[in-house]
């Protein structure tokens, strides 16, 4: 017990701290160690074991001769001291008797060897941890039943731990920290493991001496520190953290996803604002053109975006053409073109990236069929803290469970007439909804036709009345966008879908169709009619978009007021049967997507439109938050928020971003820029600016490569043809790979089922043996609890060996793929062996 005194000197808190890592590395400045020399070559491992006899002895020593092994430990190198300390803790635990009960499960994380070449180390480690869980359930209580003695278990656990420590010590320090962090243990146990790993490492380092690795260690340590600081800083700067927590606490993940989406869009707009402002607006503001504004500020501009704003940098028309500035020359045409192109490309890339990730996480892995298992096992939202919300959630869950049960019991029996009726209803609702969308498109078409007549009138543009009348078109568009979705949700109530998810998808699809057809008809109007009839048409389109964005904002406010506030008042005061409204995540997200589409289309015509969008999103966030908390109740059906989010990102990409991209691309490549204003005046198409630039470059020596790329890559069809071909081939390959994986999954599933059967069979055998043992034990009460070694191997039942022939013995490698059934089998075998001995 005198060892406890040394424990005081080596204060674990000091020893395990990160600062100590520096002390150690500086004190052994010339040590060398190679983190990978252990997990590759088996012979090297042998070297390691030979070089550290004392270490091995310690780890292999039986528990009871622990005291003896301290002698050798005393003569060990400095670096091994934490190991002793760890062992002391073990000793301590043993004397307390608390070890066995409290942490056996945790220590069981370790497992036998890892076969070389298995992909990520920590992954397999975790898997083995899970395997052990089933071996030592309940802290060894069950093992007692299986006849393993306490000593055996302890020895086993200790071996496991040593293996884990060795494995960890073989990793690079970065991986090691991550792996230790990911062990499912308490902090105390992690500390213990870590101190052992560090000891193991430093003792190993004592063998190879270089300075270089120490330096790299230092560098990686400082990088790590830097990384953690960055993460903390990022977290400190996180926007709306408290609000998000409040919303999540009251309404759960589904509603929270709307606000996260909004925040994500806000980031997009901040980025686009910075890019546009920095590369287009600032140079323009530095060199103002010699134009004087002939219209004063009247106030109505804030709504219409016309008048005073028309001459400012808000719109395309406010930018001058050619080269501005004398000393550092700044080519406005190229800046305008490349800024917008770069922004759109970056947007597209980040959208594709987040969409692909989201798909991978939420669709590829998720169940095709919905079941009750996930609802019970993984649907509980631990974030929800509000008492009332939790009660409501429980109620909803109960109702859903009952519904699904009764549905399952009844089955779906539908007669032909019922099916026909159902089909008729679906057909009818689809006809009505497409009819509504087509009708609103036609109305917008006629409205802008008459609008165009007014615009062409030469004296009109200055009058206030004219300016106000321009608000009519955006008003009507926003009105359609508000009212028709409400009609759609009424229609949706009339039809009955068996699957609630189907219902949501249908309503989302209809809304997207409506919004995109309205935007499509507007784009046609701008490209076809406006571009050929109006002198500075880009600015005109910019103004139209500005008005649409502003109007949409007002209608979002209206929507919150009428849709949520009034509905709440009606629901609570007048018609209690209606109840408090729910927050419709799908409709609100679609509104956001629509607004973002407007902002993307407008990026070419009005480079500062992202500012308006920014302000709008910012206010919308608070508005929606207040409206949500005051008026709404949590949604009744909680389901699959992550999948909905994926769909929303996909929608943002496909019709929204791709649509606006093609609109801008069409403008740039095919339409003639206006002659009287803007950076591209006098050119046939916007893209001609690049062609002209290349012509100029041709005369400058040293820039031939740029011209070559332009001629042979950008302008050549062959290049794009080849690119497409390569992509098609790649897609085909990946498709084939996924097919192969699917087959593999089926096979693995079958294997699991077979192994389950094996397990059941073996357990049955085990039970039979146990019964038999009880009877014999009653006959021979002595000799029953003697622990036996594994290496006494006897053939009791030939079919056992038949079944597990070729599988490794317990002392040999048990790779991560060996199932727990095998372990059960080992236990069964051992039982049988004991049985055998008892008998003879």
């Amino acid at each position: 017990m005198s060892f406890y005194n040394t424990d005081g000197i080596f204060n674990p808190a000091y020893h395990d701290s990160e600062t100590l890592e520096i002390h150690r590395s500086t004190s052994r400045r010339s040590h060398h160690y190679n983190p990978y020399d252990m997990d590759q070559e088996p012979w090297q491992r042998g070297v390691f074991h030979d070089a550290l006899p004392s270490y091995n002895e310690q780890s292999r020593a039986p528990w009871d001769s622990r005291q003896g092994s301290w002698r050798t430990a005393d003569s060990m190198a400095m670096g091994l001291i934490p190991t002793q300390q760890g062992s002391l803790r073990w000793e301590h635990n043993r004397t307390n008797g608390g070890y066995q009960t409290s942490s056996a499960v945790d220590y069981s994380t370790a497992h036998q060897e890892q076969s070389p070449g298995t992909p990520p180390i920590d992954r397999s480690m975790r898997q083995r941890g899970t395997r052990k869980m089933s071996l030592f359930p309940g802290g060894g209580v069950a093992l007692g039943k299986l006849g393993m003695t306490e000593e055996d278990i302890r020895e086993e656990i200790e071996n496991e731990e040593q293996d884990l420590v060795k494995e960890l010590a073989a990793m690079s320090s970065r991986d090691q920290i991550r792996a230790i962090r990911e062990l499912p243990m308490s902090i105390e146990d992690k500390k213990h493991i870590r101190s052992q790993v560090l000891a193991c490492k430093s003792s190993k380092r004592g063998l190879h001496l270089t300075c270089c690795t120490d330096c790299s260690e230092q560098v990686s340590l400082s990088f790590r520190r830097c990384g953690t600081t960055m993460v903390s800083a990022k977290q400190a700067m996180e926007l709306w953290q408290g609000t998000m927590k409040e919303i999540g606490g009251k309404f759960g993940t589904g509603v929270l996803s709307y606000f996260l989406f909004l925040k994500w869009l806000l980031m997009f707009n901040i980025f686009s604002f910075l890019v546009n402002f920095g590369f287009i607006t600032v140079p323009q503001l530095v060199q103002p053109p010699n134009k004087t504004a002939n219209v004063g500020f009247r106030g109505l501009e804030l709504l219409t975006g016309a008048g005073y704003f028309n001459e400012t940098v808000m719109y395309y028309g406010g930018y001058s053409d050619g080269i501005i500035g004398t000393q550092p020359e700044y080519d406005m045409q190229l800046a305008y073109f490349f800024t917008i192109a770069a922004y759109l490309v970056l947007c597209g890339a980040s959208l594709i990236y987040s969409m692909a990730r989201s798909f991978q996480r939420n669709f590829v892995l998720s169940y095709p069929a919905s079941g009750s298992a996930w609802r019970l096992l993984c649907s509980w939202d631990f974030k929800v803290t509000n008492d009332k919300a939790i009660r409501q959630r429980k109620n909803n869950l109960r109702i859903q469970l009952k519904e699904s049960l009764s549905e399952k019991l009844q089955g779906i029996h539908m007669t032909t007439s019922e099916k026909l009726k159902q089909f008729g209803i679906h057909l009818g609702t689809w006809l009505i909804s497409t009819g509504l969308a087509a009708g609103s498109c036609a109305a917008i078409y006629f409205l802008y036709q008459s609008n165009l007549e007014v615009v062409k009138d030469p004296q009109a543009p200055t009058s206030l009345l004219y300016e106000a009348s321009t608000l009519l078109l955006p008003f009507v568009v926003s009105l359609f966008n508000l009212v028709i979705p409400l009609l759609y949700s009424l229609l949706n109530k009339a039809e009955r879908y068996s699957n609630p998810r189907m219902q949501i998808y249908v309503i989302v699809l209809r809304n997207v169709l409506l919004k995109m057809s309205i935007l499509g008809i507007l784009c046609y109007y701008w490209m076809h009619d406006v571009a050929s009839n109006i002198s500075c048409w880009e600015s005109f389109v910019g103004q139209d978009l500005y008005r649409l964005v502003i109007m949409d904002f007002f209608f979002i406010m209206f929507g919150s007021f009428f849709g949520e506030f009034l509905r709440n008042v009606i629901g609570t005061k007048c018609l209690p049967s209606l109840g408090v409204p729910e927050f419709d995540v799908a409709r609100n997200v679609l509104d956001l997507i629509y607004a973002q589409t407007l902002a993307w289309i407008g990026i070419y015509f009005s480079p500062l439109l992202p500012v308006i969008q920014l302000i709008k999103l910012f206010i919308t966030f608070y508005l929606k938050k207040v409206s949500l908390i005051q008026n709404c109740q949590p949604p009744r059906r909680s389901g699959r928020a992550a999948q909905m989010q994926t769909i929303f990102i996909a929608l943002l990409f496909f019709p929204s971003f791709v649509g606006s991209l093609s609109m801008v691309a069409y403008t740039v490549w095919s339409l003639k820029p206006s002659d009287s204003c803007g950076p591209f005046q006098g050119l046939n198409t916007t893209f001609e600016a690049v062609a002209l630039w290349m012509d100029r470059e041709e005369n400058i020596p040293g820039s031939m490569w740029a011209v070559w790329i332009y001629e042979n890559v950008i302008k050549s069809e062959l290049f794009f043809f080849l690119l497409t071909l390569i992509f098609l081939v790649l897609i085909y390959f990946f498709w084939q790979i996924t097919q192969g994986r699917k087959l593999l999954i089926v096979l693995l599933r079958e294997q699991i089922i077979n192994e389950g059967k094996d397990k059941a069979f073996l357990l049955m055998k085990l039970q039979n043996l146990q019964k038999a043992k009880k009877t014999t034990a009653s006959l021979q009460p002595t000799n029953a609890q003697q622990p036996k070694r594994f290496d006494v191997r006897q053939h009791i039942e030939p079919d056992y060996d038949q079944e597990f022939e070729g599988l490794p013995r317990p002392e040999e490698d048990i790779g991560p793929s060996v199932p727990s059934a095998l372990i059960q089998a080992m236990l069964a075998r051992r039982m049988a062996e004991e049985e055998e001995e008892d008998r003879y």
Binding site: D16, T228, N362, S366, F382, I390, K394
Partner: protein, 189 residues
């Protein structure tokens, strides 16, 4: 924050940062919240235990149907009374934090749902789980017939090796196919 920072030594703080998924701010906040639970005279020592009843008064845990299980799983107390030290508390927050991996989360979720601590989710565990989720009172509970049906449904879906219980790997399999789990298995201070 200044006062709390001085209470937690710098090397201990960086150690916690290394061993858990929490950032510095989160650890400091956790420390602040934890010391609020302690009585005044106990605040100086770091290994002080807070009894489970005290921990469950925190608004983040107060209404959670699994609050007692959470405390029991993360407690290292030898008396098995669910009391937490500060390190246990950090463990809890780390498992429920944003950056914890799916494996860690599912491991602890499994242990929380494993009411009798025997390493598998058997019928008894599942029944308790359903009762926790739907409410414990008599009028909210499912009828025995419904319960039987429901449990057999769950086992049919998730018990791949057909041994009548859901073990950890089967549980993780279900969870890995339910992308909402990571975002909903979260407790933020």
């Amino acid at each position: 924050m200044g006062t709390t920072a001085s209470q937690l030594p710098k090397d201990l703080l960086s150690e916690y940062q290394e061993l858990t998924f929490l950032t510095k701010q989160e650890i400091l906040l956790a420390h602040k919240r934890f010391t609020e639970l302690l009585a005044k005279e106990d605040r100086s020592s770091t290994s002080q235990r807070v009894p489970m009843e005290k921990v469950l008064t925190m608004p983040e845990l107060k209404s959670n149907p699994f609050r007692k299980r959470i405390c029991h799983v993360f407690s290292t107390s030898e008396a098995k009374d669910g009391s937490l030290t500060f390190e246990d508390f950090l463990d809890l927050l780390s498992a429920f934090s944003d950056s914890a991996t799916l494996e860690i989360k599912s491991h602890y979720a499994f242990r929380i749902f494993d009411f009798d601590d025997d390493g598998t989710l058997d019928c008894g565990d599942l029944e308790k789980l359903v009762n926790c989720l739907t409410g414990e009172t008599d009028d909210t509970r499912l009828t025995p017939e419904e319960m039987r049906q429901l449990i057999s449904n769950i086992l049919e879906e998730s018990d791949i090796d057909k041994d009548g219980t859901v073990n950890l790997s089967e549980f993780q399999h279900v969870i890995s196919r339910s992308p909402d789990f990571v975002s909903s298995f979260k407790i933020v201070l």
